[in-house]
Symmetry: C2
Subunit: 212 residues, 2 copies
Amino acid sequence: MTIEAEPQPDPKRRSVRSQETRERILQAALKAFSESGFDGASTRQIAALAGESQGLVTYHFSTKENLWKAAVDSLFGPFIEELNARKAALAEVDIRTRLRLLLVFFVRHAANHPEQNRLMMQEAQSETPRMRYIAETYLKDQYEFACGVLREAIDAGLLPPAPHIHYFYIVVGACSRLFTATSECEYLTGDDAMSPAMIEAHAEAVANLIIR
Amino acid sequence: MTIEAEPQPDPKRRSVRSQETRERILQAALKAFSESGFDGASTRQIAALAGESQGLVTYHFSTKENLWKAAVDSLFGPFIEELNARKAALAEVDIRTRLRLLLVFFVRHAANHPEQNRLMMQEAQSETPRMRYIAETYLKDQYEFACGVLREAIDAGLLPPAPHIHYFYIVVGACSRLFTATSECEYLTGDDAMSPAMIEAHAEAVANLIIR
DNA sequence: CCCAATACTTGTCAGTTGAAAAATAAACCT
DNA sequence: AGGTTTATTTTTCAACTGACAAGTATTGGG
């Protein structure tokens, strides 16, 4: 990606307050981009959400594209780290239990970070440079990993044989859709999709449906 | 919804060409709204996509909100009709076969009309009047219907017991996610998610996973 | 053939957009 | 304390936004 470094001439000199401001802008950007898409969100709206002026957004991130990338990194970075830790911890566990725990992990993550799935859905439908960035930087490795787990699960007779690509999107959709449609869910059933009880019940339902 | 009638003083006088233009604008609007969201899509962009001037959009639909509603209606209307026909045709079929055929129907529909799921995802995350319109007008009935089918399936031992709301969003996500992420899928695997073979394989995978 | 209704184009409006420049404030080092 | 970087606000600008008004073209019914 042709995205330059942000104005970080000397990190040690950067005041703590400034970094916090940056962080607040990133969180606001995440919310705005995931809800309204890249074009739909405005830098002024993001700045207002963070309680800052629009000029400050330009100061910290130069361009909207840059802001988007920084926001995505701040979201996916910790996720990948956590996922890798989980992978390592589950390396020796039998495939049935491993698959179940991974599914539960994915459901919880989708619930706790709905912006991640929303952000991906906003871009995944068309061939934008932003979609390429996410896919190249974060998704490709995880898809490979998922394929490995799926192969094991199919070999063990846990899942009916089918090309991995189908299971990949089935699982992603099954784990996350509820949490990307929280308002609709509340309107349809009156339930709060984000309540801890609901999240755990969804994890159970997904795991029990897929692993039998 | 407080949306007035479009300028249809005398349908018989309306030229065929005009109706075709209207239809072209609606299709363009569907594409734009589903890809960019309500705020992200502009009436000029929609007009250009339809090969018409921006003023004509205002002429046919008065406001952007109105255009959005008309586009949604043109998409959901036929879907509901087709679904009702399918329901009727399957009324006497045993629950196992009925569930399978319904799943296949949903996968095919999600593939042939990806804008429908994209449009819903754009709105379902926050409490907009547009989300209410879709939920109230189209979703509520179908959710009730789905609950009935799910209850039967659970009673018959086809599915592990779980609150219907979870299965609803699991099924919606599993059936549609692949087709709302076609570019991402192509980038990850090189496969064309919209190819007939891929659609049928996905329907098979979903049905075989859920019904065992 | 005319003429009124319909269809469509063009121009304009105030308001918003992202980006950049200019002006000011705060923080830090010496 | 003074001076230089860093942080932030305010101002500015061309491009774009949705809606509307004022035209022009096309249509079909008499």
